[in-house]
Amino acid sequence: MKKLNRIFLLLVATSLFVSCSNDDNGNSDVPLGEYDNGFFVLNEGNSNPSTASVTFISNSGLIEQDVFGNVNPDAVSNGTLLQSVFFDDTRAFIISGGSNKVTVVNRYTFEFIATVATNFASPRYGAVINGKAYVTNYADFAIGTDDFLTVIDLSNYSTSKVALNNWSEKVIEENGKLYIANGFYGSGTSITVFNPANNTPSTPIELGFSPNSLEEEDGTLYVIGDGKLAKINLATNQVIGTAITFPEAQAGAKNLNIENDKIYYTAGTSVFVMDINASTAPTSSLFSYESTSEWGGMYGFAVNDNKIYIAEGGDFTSDSEVYVYSLTGSLLDAFTAGVGPNGFYFND
């Protein structure tokens, strides 16, 4: 099972925020393609490629299923078990964990550009720095030491590998460096800083718990895992103080998102919020939603532009739903997406 967090949407969200400011300055927002001004939902699917898809929902609420198939009816499918998507300025990169490949499309028109299918072994998440994409790979799920990065040269889509020697899952880019969460269901308890300039992983920053999601804000890296929240000063790469421990009922806390100086996270099917500087965790939730899924409740989560997005994983053999809530927890919208929706990616 591939549990996800939406890191890249935060990158996008940040850039979005910037572009919104531009809008405020009077620039007209001319759509760059059919799929500008809205968000994608990534549908993980199951072992069958036809269950894996991307749904687009426009800011005006229009919904289109299987965007890739509609735009590129003759292209080979994206593969099975779509794990995550990451972007550069013009392209979207769709990672298939089951088929060991990345499909490159125009992020605004979704036109097929290339398939990258070398040097992958159960790829997970990716980020872009200076014309190169970096994708984490689990390789053997039972072994941490064989995990590695696939480096894709985005000018010609050639690839190479860099060993990471540690459980490697989520990755974010900040200030020209990669921050890789070394955590996999209790295995791996650190953060690796990767500097593309010297192409080698740093000595890991030890957390004492297994990270499941991370985000950077104002020079501090926030990390959640094993019912704890830690902060790392990125100037010194040192953990700040001791980690905040969540109440026992929130032991499975995950899906860290920071929006407007507030930390959002989820536990079970509840959403929690705390001030970014708070020293203790909240005991009561912001709101909960009803999930009928045996194991796909809160399968995807995002906070963006004052709205909260929740993906219900469903039963992984039928189309499931995504919900949009206000920051106070009232349901604004519900959409049917595809099989096993696991992430939101905002495209404005």
């Binding site: 490629p49 269950t51 194991w295």
Partner: protein, 610 residues
């Protein structure tokens, strides 16, 4: 008066004498197969026997044989890959596979992969529809498939050699020898099947990648007549196979899977008076190795050794009443890279009764109870009748309770195995109508099955673990048809099956995915002297691939047919040369979404009997 008494005595004596005569013939009948319950206690259910001539005409895999000749529906992950049957809408773990009376479903995953049994090793294969747990134990819910080696104590020396070669470098060799006299009987059969299996898809410019396989099996059966009332028999089977699992995208990691199974059974049958006693000892081993990357030697594995001791005592209470008790002790010893090393012991006792009330009416009943500390074991039973209402119409009724026990993987997988599981259990009932005319037989069966405590693996955190969650309700109807006609030297034979199946999730009331409402098969054979032609087809109705039954994603119905032509060149012996066109109309089809099966392809075979 005296005369009358004498007459009575005489009659009694004659009857005794006649019966005694009858007995020795009956002994040989009893000795012929080990699984006597299949014949004696299956009168109230639908039983279909596939003879060696049918086996010989079909492709080598059990999947193909049953797919084209029975109501059982198959999901195959590409030709020769993992193949799961669905019998009467049930799961692959709810069909029992019985080898000479012994249940050989895997102790690890609970099912038999139907591409790991070589059909040509057997004289006949019997499909028994409906519940049979009270006789055959776990998994006999949808039905059971029986493989029997037959032993005959007559003077015989025969050899059979069959070789076939066809598209995708697919070949098969099967050699059988049979040597017997009135004291000894010996049979051996060796089979090798292999294929590159790199077929091109029909409408897509792609081919089956990494689908190659090979397998070898060796079967021997040995019988020794100690005296007229005591017989020793030994059955043995080895299967060794390797399959690469085909990939959908060239960038996927290529994997392979090896099976190695052995089955050995020694049986001592003896007859005394109205009793038939059979003592059986069996030792089974199953072993798999899964290579997660074919470029690496590293693999996971699992193996189970099974020892079975069985005492089977049948008692003919009268000419009309037969009683049979079976006491069984089974020990399974499992170990593997992903399961806890465990030993489990299961004792069971069953009592079976058949009462032929009149020449046209009989009823049969059986009960079984297992004793084990591994799972809660329910009392299993079956009760049924067979009533020949007219010379051409027979009515059958049967009701039963059956189960499927948790497997080693369910109980002991590390991590995730759950040692507190109940068996899946079912109540089921069926009504069968059989019509017999001169050249024509038809049977119509309706059934209903309610299955509770279905086992399902769900993830808890990062760990998958099994639970008894679902309920399933299945009902449907089956029709089997057989017709033969001979005009001079022209022979016609027509066989057909049709199944209508509704199998619903108890909670959502939706049809289960990959269970077609409709399936039909037919074969038509024509022969003139030494020349024969055959045509067979398989129709599978569309299936849902989504649990919400969203028909947008349905897998299309398909109609696939095969044709063959053969000529026997032999004068005294049989030398038959045959040519087959498989998927005659080049249908683009898949039984599992995206897992396309081959388009039109060819095969030729030579059968020598000497």
């Amino acid at each position: 008066m005296t005369f009358k008494k004498q007459f009575l005595l005489l009659i009694l004596f004659v009857c005794q004498f006649a019966l005694a005569q009858n007995d020795s013939i009956q002994y040989l009948e009893e000795v012929k197969v080990s699984d006597s319950q299949l014949k004696n206690f299956s009168n109230s259910q639908s039983v279909l026997k596939l003879s060696d001539s049918i086996i010989n005409k079909n492709q080598a895999s059990l999947t193909s044989l049953l797919n084209y000749n029975t109501v059982i529906y198959f999901k195959e992950n590409g030709l020769g890959m993992v193949s799961s049957p669905s019998f009467r809408g049930t799961t692959a773990q709810q069909t029992a596979v019985i080898w000479n009376g012994i249940n050989i479903n895997s102790q690890l995953n609970g099912q038999t992969d139907f591409n790991t049994i070589a059909t040509r090793d057997f004289k006949n294969i019997t499909v028994r529809a409906g519940g049979g747990s009270s006789i055959y134990g776990s998994s006999a819910i949808g039905g059971s498939i029986h493989f029997n080696n037959e032993l005959r104590f007559v003077n015989e020396f025969t050899n059979d050699l069959r070789v076939n070669y066809g598209s995708f470098n697919t070949y098969g060799v099967n050699y059988k020898v049979n040597v017997s006299d009135e004291k000894f009987s010996f049979q051996a059969s060796i089979t090798r099947n292999a294929s590159d299996n790199d077929y091109e898809f029909v409408d897509v410019a792609a081919k089956n990648l990494n689908g190659q396989y090979y397998n070898t099996s060796l079967n021997t059966t040995f019988g020794y007549k100690i005296n007229t009332t005591n017989y020793l028999k030994f059955y043995s089977q080895f299967f060794d196979g390797e399959r690469h699992f085909s990939v959908l995208f060239a960038s996927e990691v290529k994997t392979k899977y090896q099976d190695f199974n052995t089955r050995n059974m020694l049986e001592w049958s003896s007859f005394f008076g109205k009793f038939t006693s059979k003592v059986k000892f069996a030792s089974l081993t199953e072993q798999y190795k899964y290579f997660g990357n074919i470029d690496s030697e590293s693999h996971t594995y699992g193996e189970v050794k099974t020892y079975i001791g069985k005492y089977d005592l049948a008692f003919d209470v009268s000419k009309a009443i037969k009683l049979n008790t079976v006491i069984d002790f089974t020990q399974n010893i499992g170990n593997g890279s992903d399961i806890k090393n465990e030993r489990r012991n299961i004792g069971s006792a069953s009592l079976l009764l058949k009462h032929k009330v009149t020449d046209t009416f009989l009823y049969e009943a059986s009960v079984r109870k297992e004793i084990t500390n591994n799972y809660k074991s329910p009392l299993l039973f079956s009760i049924g009748t067979n009533y020949a209402i007219t010379s051409f119409y027979t009515l059958k009724l049967n009701g039963s309770k059956n189960f499927r026990v948790p497997t080693f993987n369910d109980l002991y997988w590390q991590p995730g195995g759950n040692e507190n599981l109940n068996p899946e259990s079912s109540y089921q009932a069926e009504v069968g109508n059989e019509f017999h005319f001169k050249n024509f037989n038809i049977s119509l069966t309706g059934y209903v099955i309610a299955i509770d405590d279905m086992l399902r693996w769900v993830p808890m955190g990062g760990v998958w673990t099994p639970e008894n969650t679902n309920k399933v309700k299945t009902y449907g109807g089956e029709a089997l048809l057989r017709w033969n006609k001979t005009f001079g030297k022209n022979n016609f034979a027509l066989n057909g099956t049709y199944a209508y199946t509704v199998s619903e999730n108890g909670e959502t009331k939706k049809q289960l995915i990959y269970v077609p409402y409709h399936k039909a098969t037919s074969s038509l054979a024509y022969s003139y002297k030494k020349f024969s032609v055959d045509y067979q087809f398989l129709y599978n109705g569309e299936v849902f691939t989504r649990s919400d039954n969203n028909s947008k994603y349905n897998l299309d119905a398909y109609f696939v047919s095969n044709a063959s032509i053969a000529y026997d060149f032999g004068k005294t012996n049989s030398y038959q040369l045959g040519f087959q066109v498989l998927n005659l109309f080049n249908e683009n089809y898949a039984s599992v979404e995206s897992r396309f099966l081959p388009g039109r392809n060819f095969n030729m075979y030579l059968t020598l009997k000497f």
